[in-house]
């Protein structure tokens, strides 16, 4: 194993030794770290018993990150249908706000062709399971597409012996009948709900400014009591960050959620205009970890992008994993963001079109390969980071510039702190974790001083 993949992260007066590719973490003292360094440098693996034990463990347990696909597209990560870029809400931090609220919808015929092409691809490659995700804008702003597509896809998949998983990302602004249908027909619902009324109404009003809380809360209750997995997504701002444990308790008390996803706000012109800013990364990390403790008591999983310890990956998101996201116009994209967002970064994340007449994906193999290469690119900033196999450099579009520099930015800081906390909890170092988190809350460390001791 290359030494670059062994890390020692200072935690108070101790070190958290972490070998991500062996899924191994252990708290050691400064002396033990010295012995371990020496054992690695001299390849003398027997003189120190603890070092010998650790190194033996590393040799016996070697994992590799999920490989990036190669060759023809045969195993798509999922099919994403971007049914519309329009939306019926007026979120004050929406970075899709350049989209007209009445933008066009995907034609039903196009949705059918995409489903047929996807199922054919799975079938031709002997796959028995697949996944269809619906994105927007707001997918239920053009509800007819989703309501046709789910039934049609389920029916067609059954004929081919394929089991499909359906997921939607939604703002929860629809009638109760629709909510009940979603609860009965979708396997997972990612519902944006920023917390109690004070946060939801301040962050996510209706287009004309009235509060959305009542409606979304009512639908969250219906979804919560239904057969679907409810994933509540909370966008965290500088105003709400310090309240995350309270928001977590509130969610756990009100809903039966399978997980809660806290994501820090990405600033945009609109959010700045409304005085909504990203949270301080250290506050976000500390509060996130405490919210995780709250939710764990209810058996609810807590998520934030790039910190899943169970996953070793080369790419932060579907980019490079052969997800097929079909736009309302029929383009095949690797990313659900608006095209102008990538273009600003000089990227082309489009790799073909769907032909509605023949129900075939017309794949531009060269572009597909370029997207895979983008995901495989290693960045100087990530090279020495212990989060490299979980966060994998974060968003290929929004974090692109940052990872080619030499200083950790806010995304890195919060990812690294949360990963440290999660590792301490995972290895049952609860006392040390509590002491460390108290220190973090009381005297927040600043970004440049966050250690990154590499073995």
């Amino acid at each position: 194993m290359p030494p670059a993949d062994l890390f020692a992260i200072p935690v108070l007066d101790k070190y958290l030794f972490y070998a991500p590719l062996s899924r191994y973490a252990r708290v050691i003292g400064a002396d033990e770290l010295g012995h371990l360094r020496q054992a690695l440098a001299t390849e003398d693996r027997d003189s120190d018993p603890l070092s010998a034990q650790i190194l033996a463990h590393l040799q016996l347990n070697a994992f590799t990150p999920d490989p990036l696909p190669q060759g023809p597209l045969t195993n798509p990560f999922f099919l994403g249908l971007i049914t519309t870029r329009g939306c019926n809400m007026g979120c004050r931090y929406c970075d899709f706000s350049t989209t007209p609220k009445t933008s066009s919808a995907m034609p039903v015929e196009l949705a059918r062709a995409a489903i047929d092409a996807y199922l054919d691809l799975l079938s031709q490659n002997g796959k028995q399971a697949g996944e269809i995700q619906f994105f927007g804008g707001e997918p239920f702003f053009r509800n007819r597409i989703v309501e046709f597509a789910v039934g049609y896809a389920r029916h067609s998949a059954l004929k081919k012996g394929i089991e499909l998983h359906f997921e939607v990302t939604t703002n929860g602004l629809f009638g109760t009948k629709r909510s009940a249908w979603i609860a009965d027909n979708l396997d997972a619902v990612v519902l944006s709900l920023d917390g109690p009324a004070e946060f939801q109404n301040a962050h996510r009003p209706l287009i004309h400014g009235a509060g959305s809380f009542e409606k979304v809360f009512q639908n969250a209750r219906i979804l919560s009591e239904g057969n679907t997995d409810l994933i509540i997504r909370v966008c965290v701002t500088d105003k709400s960050a310090s309240q995350l444990p309270e928001i977590a308790r509130w969610i756990a008390g009100e809903f039966i959620a399978s997980s809660v996803c806290f994501e820090p706000l990405t600033a945009c012109e609109l959010s700045i205009q409304h005085g909504l800013l990203p949270p301080d990364p250290v506050t976000f990390a500390a509060m996130y970890l405490q919210a995780e403790d709250e939710l764990a008591q209810y058996g609810i999983l807590t998520i934030t992008s790039g910190t899943d310890l169970n996953r070793l990956q080369h790419s932060f998101c579907p980019v490079g994993k052969d997800a097929i996201l079909v736009t309302p116009e029929g383009r095949l994209n690797a990313c659900y963001l608006l095209e102008q967002e990538w273009e600003k970064e000089g990227l082309d994340l489009s790799f073909g079109r769907i032909n509605p007449a023949s129900a075939c994906f017309q794949i531009d193999a060269e572009n597909l390969e370029a997207i895979r290469c983008l995901a495989a690119t290693r960045h100087p900033l990530c090279a020495g980071c212990f989060c490299k196999y979980h966060c994998a450099g974060a968003c290929h579009v929004n974090h692109r510039a940052a990872r080619d520099t030499s200083a950790y930015d806010a995304v890195c800081v919060q990812t690294r702190l949360i990963t440290t906390g999660k590792l301490l909890k995972r290895i049952q170092q609860i006392d040390l974790y509590q002491e460390w988190i108290s220190a973090l809350v009381q005297a927040p460390i600043t970004a440049p001083s966050i250690p990154n001791c590499l073995l």
Partner: protein, 96 residues
Amino acid sequence: MSNLSRSSSGLVKGRGIYSVRDREGVFVIDPERQIYWRLTGLEADIWDWIALNHPFEEILQFSALYLDLSVEAAKDQVFKVFQKWLSDGILRVEET
């Protein structure tokens, strides 16, 4: 059926009828007569589309795509389904 040719908004569940959805289909239950119907495939989805107030023209378009038929050809099949449900009493045309 003349009402049906315009819109499905006049079609509603029969009195006292309720339905339960799972991934495989819909159970339509008449508690008074103590009978139930199991709807699967397109029938289950048509049942949902009516409940979600999709216009009749849209139900026809969806059904045509579903069955890979022309809208005209799909219309016959959808009308047959409606006729059966009306005669079974699980669907009724709401008086306007």
